[in-house]
C-alpha cells in the first residue's frame, strides 16, 4: 500500500476487504508475514579446499585454453577491446583478467521493485523464492490434462505469486500465455505482472524490444525517472548459455542492455551431465562455471560493478532415454559444489525448485524437496521455480504451486533461530519441575504463554487422524490444494497502484502494440 494510492479502487483494494478478512482471520491461507528469511545453516561442502582449487583451475583452463563462443558481434567487440583473445566467435581470456573482472561484481546488492517494501537483498544470507517460470503448458485437477497455457492461467498463477508471502520475486512467465500473439505477448504479460504483483520483476532477454519494453514498463510502474531507474537495480534478467560453451545472440543482447542500465544479471548454464556437459558432475560444474563466469566478465567490462549472480542448473539425464532428471542425488551435490565455488568467486548463487514428475504426487514432492534442501545446503540466495513446476519445467500447476508454498513456509520457519532458543525460559526446567511425572503440559502457563506462536501452523498439511480426515472428504493433498487455489482466486485483490501509473502503463502498451510490438522472426 502506498501513499499515492488515492483512487476509490485503490483504496478498496489495499485497505478494504482484504484487510478486513485478514483481521477476521478468514483468508484462504493463514500465512507467515512477508520477510526475507536468513539461512541459519552452515553450507554443506563436498569439496575440500584442494578440491575447490582443482575446480577453479579446470574452470580457468576452459576460459584460457578452450574459450567460449559469443554469438553476438557487439559482445565480441567489447571483449576484444578489453584484451581477450578472439578468433571468430571464440573468446579466450586469461585467469588474471577473469579474476579481476569477477572481483568487480558486488557480493551483495539490492533489487527494489515498484513496492519498496518488497526490496530484496541478494548475497546477504537470505534464501529467496520465486514462482515457476516459462512452462508452455498448464495442468490442474479440474482440467485433468496437459493444455497449452493461456492468459487466464497466466493471470491466475500471477495471483498466487503475489498472494504468498513466501514468494519473494516474480520470475519469468509462470506459464506461457500462448493465446497472446508473440509480437505483443511481452506487453500484455508485463502489464499483467505489474498490475497483479508488486514484487521484483524478471524480463526475458529475447530481443531488443522485449528487454527495452520490459525495462520501460518497470520504470513506469515504479514512478521512476530514467536516472532513478538506472541508479540501482529495479529488476533482473536471467540468461541461459547454449551449452556447451556458447552464449547466443538474443540472450547476450538482453544481458548487455541490462548491464548498461545497472540492472540485476543472472546467468544460468543448462548443463545436463551426459548430454550438454560431461557425464561426471565435477566436469558439468566446471563447464557451467566457465560459461557463467564468461558472461559475468562481459557484464563487468560493460559496466564495472553491475550486480551479477551465477545460477546452477546442473543435473543429470536418464542414461537409458536421455530424459532430463531433477532433484536427484547428483543434482544435490552439483548444487552444493557450485555453491562452494560461488562463495569462492564472491558471487550470489541462484538454484531452482525442480522435479521430473508429471503430476503433483509423491515423486513430485521428493524431487522438489531434494532440490529445495540442496538450495538450503548450498547457501543459495535465489531459488527459481520454487513453486508450481512439473514435468521438468514443461508444465505449470496451481496445485503444485500451493503444495510448494506449504513446503517453502516450512523451510522459512526452519530458518527461524527462535526454534533453538536455549534461554532459561526455553530450557523450561522449572516448568518440568512443576508439571512433574504425573502432569501434562497442555494447560500450564509456560505453554499458554507460547502456544500461538510456538509451532509452524501449516495451511495445507492435514494432521487429522484417518477417521476425521475420511469424514472431511478423504481428500489427498492435491485436492486440498485445488480448493485453496480456488479460494485464493476468489479473495484475491491486486496490490495498490496509482491510477495515473496504471493509465501510463495502459497507454504504453497500446502505443507499442500500434508500433507492432516485437519481431517474431528469431
Amino acid at each position: 500500500m502506498t501513499d499515492t494510492d488515492t483512487s476509490p479502487k485503490g483504496r478498496r483494494r489495499s485497505g478494504g476487504r482484504a484487510a478486513n478478512t485478514a483481521r477476521r482471520g478468514i483468508t484462504a491461507v493463514e500465512q507467515q508475514p512477508w520477510r526475507l528469511p536468513v539461512n541459519q545453516d552452515r553450507p554443506i561442502e563436498p569439496l575440500s579446499p584442494e578440491g575447490v582449487e582443482r575446480v577453479h583451475n579446470a574452470t580457468m583452463q576452459i576460459l584460457e585454453e578452450i574459450g567460449i563462443e559469443f554469438l553476438n558481434p557487439k559482445a565480441i567487440t567489447y571483449l576484444k577491446n578489453a584484451g581477450c583473445t578472439v578468433r571468430g566467435e571464440n573468446v579466450r581470456m586469461d585467469r588474471e583478467f577473469v579474476t579481476e573482472m569477477v572481483a568487480k561484481a558486488p557480493s551483495r546488492f539490492t533489487v527494489t521493485p515498484r513496492n519498496p517494501e518488497r526490496q530484496l537483498t541478494l548475497g546477504a544470507g537470505h534464501l529467496l523464492f520465486g514462482n515457476v517460470s516459462s512452462p508452455p503448458n498448464y495442468w490442474d485437477l479440474e482440467i485433468g490434462r496437459k493444455v497449452p497455457g493461456t492468459r487466464e492461467h497466466f493471470r491466475n498463477l500471477l495471483k498466487l505469486t503475489q498472494y504468498f508471502n513466501c514468494i519473494h520475486f516474480c520470475g519469468g512467465y509462470p506459464v506461457e500465455p500462448v493465446d497472446i500473439h508473440p509480437r505483443v505477448r511481452h506487453l500484455d504479460a508485463m502489464f499483467d505482472k505489474l498490475t497483479l504483483c508488486d514484487k521484483t520483476m524478471h524480463v526475458y532477454s529475447l530481443g531488443k524490444e522485449r528487454v527495452e519494453d520490459g525495462m520501460e514498463m518497470v520504470r513506469i510502474a515504479g514512478g521512476l525517472s530514467h536516472e532513478e531507474f538506472d541508479a540501482t537495480p529495479r529488476m533482473y534478467t536471467n540468461i541461459n548459455s547454449t551449452s556447451p560453451l556458447k552464449h547466443d545472440h538474443p540472450m547476450l543482447d538482453g544481458w548487455m542492455r541490462m548491464a548498461q542500465r545497472g540492472q540485476g544479471l543472472v546467468v544460468t548454464p543448462f548443463t545436463l551431465a551426459g548430454a550438454m556437459a560431461p557425464v561426471t558432475m565435477a566436469g558439468a560444474v566446471v563447464q557451467s562455471l566457465a560459461e557463467a563466469l564468461a558472461a559475468v566478465v562481459l557484464a563487468q567490462v560493460i559496466n564495472p560493478g553491475v550486480p551479477c549472480m551465477i545460477g546452477t542448473f546442473t543435473s543429470n539425464v536418464d542414461m537409458k532415454t536421455g530424459a532430463p532428471a531433477f532433484g536427484t542425488p547428483e543434482y544435490m551435490r552439483a548444487t552444493q559444489m557450485t555453491g562452494q565455488m560461488a562463495r569462492y568467486y564472491g558471487l550470489p548463487l541462484r538454484s531452482s525448485g525442480v522435479c521430473a514428475s508429471n503430476v503433483p504426487d509423491g515423486q513430485a514432492m521428493w524431487e522438489t524437496e531434494h532440490s529445495l534442501w540442496a538450495a538450503v545446503q548450498s547457501g543459495t540466495d535465489m531459488v527459481y521455480h520454487a513453486a508450481g513446476w512439473l514435468e521438468g519445467g514443461l508444465i505449470a500447476s496451481p496445485e503444485k504451486f500451493i503444495m510448494d508454498c506449504e513446503v517453502l513456509g516450512q523451510i522459512q520457519r526452519y530458518m527461524e533461530p527462535e526454534i533453538c532458543d536455549v534461554s532459561d525460559a526455553a530450557l523450561a526446567v522449572e516448568t518440568i519441575r512443576d508439571v512433574g511425572p504425573n502432569g501434562h503440559f497442555f494447560g500450564v502457563q509456560h505453554t499458554q504463554d507460547r502456544y500461538e506462536t510456538a509451532f509452524h501452523q501449516p495451511f495445507l498439511s492435514d494432521w487429522k487422524n484417518f477417521e476425521a480426515w475420511e469424514a472431511a472428504g478423504a481428500m489427498w493433498t492435491p485436492e486440498r490444494a485445488h480448493g485453496i487455489y480456488k479460494r485464493i482466486l476468489d479473495e484475491f485483490e491486486a496490490p495498490a497502484l496509482d491510477p495515473a501509473v496504471h493509465e501510463e502503463l495502459t497507454a504504453f502498451v497500446a502505443r507499442r502494440k500500434e508500433e507492432g510490438g516485437a519481431p517474431t522472426d528469431f
Copy 2:
C-alpha cells in the same frame, strides 16, 4: 546363502529362481547392493558450544533435582545400590555419577544377526534404515481403507523389509498382526521375522516372556550357544519412556533383561512438545535427554559397557487440536539439537522417518523427507520407521514403503563420495575440449566409459514426459508403487535357513504355545 543350506527347499530358495532372475535382470526392482552407507555431511549444529553446555546443564538439573520415576522395584534396587537418591519410585542421580556411567557405554558397537553379512555397526558414521514398526492398522490402494493389521499384511511387509537392500534392520512389527492372539502373537511374529528375514531383529520390551522368547529365538536362528549369544549384540530392543519423567515396569523389565545379556539398547522418549514435554523445543529436548540418560545409567549399572543408544522422537503437536505432528520444522531442529547432544555424550543416535499424512501423497512425502533429512543433518546412526509409515504411526502401507525405499536409495546414493570426484578424469577438461561448442556428450568415450554407473537409477520415479507417461497408463506414484509391491511379493524368496534351525524354531514355538505363551493381563 550359507553353507549349511543343504535342503532342496533351501537350495531352491537361495540359489535357484531368485539368483537366476537376478542374473537375467528381470527383478521387480533394480536396486543398489547391500551396504552400510557412510554419512559424508558435517552435521548441522543449531546449538553453539555454549548452547550445548546449557542444554547439558539443564538435563543434569532434571536428573539431580527433579528425578525420574522408575516403576520397577528391581530397577530401583539397582540404582539405590549404585548410590542414587531414591524416594519411592523417584530416583535422582548427580551429574558426576551420570557422566561416569554414560562414559561406560561404547560410542561404537556391532549387532550381528543370523546372517553375519548383515552385521551393523552403530556409531561409526553409518546411516542405517529400518522398516516402519508397530502400526495397528494397514492401508493399501487395493483395499482402499484403513483395516486392522493381519498376519498376512505383517508377512508381506516383512518381505519388503528383507527385499530392499536399503533396509538395514528389521524393527518392531511392520504392522501389528492383530488376528493372532496376544498370548502367542510374539511367537508367531518372531517366527515369521526370522524365517522371512535375515537382518538384525528387534524385540519388544513388553514383559518377561516376550523378551526371553525373543532372545531365545534369535539365538536359535543364529545357531548360537548361550555363551555366543551373550558375547556380543545379536539383536536390540527399543523402549519408550512414559513422558514426562517416567519409565514403566515392562519396558524396564525388558531393558534390564537385554542389558544383562549384552544386547543392543535403544531408549526413545516420546516427548511431544506442548503435551508430554514443554512447548519449547529446547525444553522438550532437555526432558527427552534426561529420560534417556536415566535409562542408560541403569543399563551401565547392570552391565558396564553394554551398548546403548539414545533415540529422539521429539516433535510438536497441533496446538489447535492436540494432534501430533511429524516432519515439521520444529521436529527437524529438535533432531539436530539431540544429535549434537548425542555426540556430546558419546552415544549413537536413533531418529525416525515419520509423517502425519493418512495416505501416500505429497504431504506424506514432504513430511517424511523432512524427517529423513533431519536424520542426515543430525548425524543419526539408526533411522526407525524409515519405510512404510503413515498417520503418525497408526497405519502401515506397502505403497508408502516402496516410495520411502526409493527416497532411501537416493539418500544412500547422495552419500557416495564418488559423485564429487574431482580427479582430472572427472573434471573432464580434455573431454570438454574435444567435444567443443558444437558437439554433445552422449556418444563420447568419456560418457561411454561411465554411463552405466554415473547416476542413480531410480526404480519408482517416472522420468518420462507427460505424453509417454499418459500412454503408459498415467499412473501416479502410489499406483506404480502398488504394482512394484505386487511384483516383489511374486518373486520373493525367503533367505536361506538351515532346515535343522527351522525345525528347532518350529518346535520352540509349539512348546511355548503349549505352555501358554505370554500373559496378557498388563
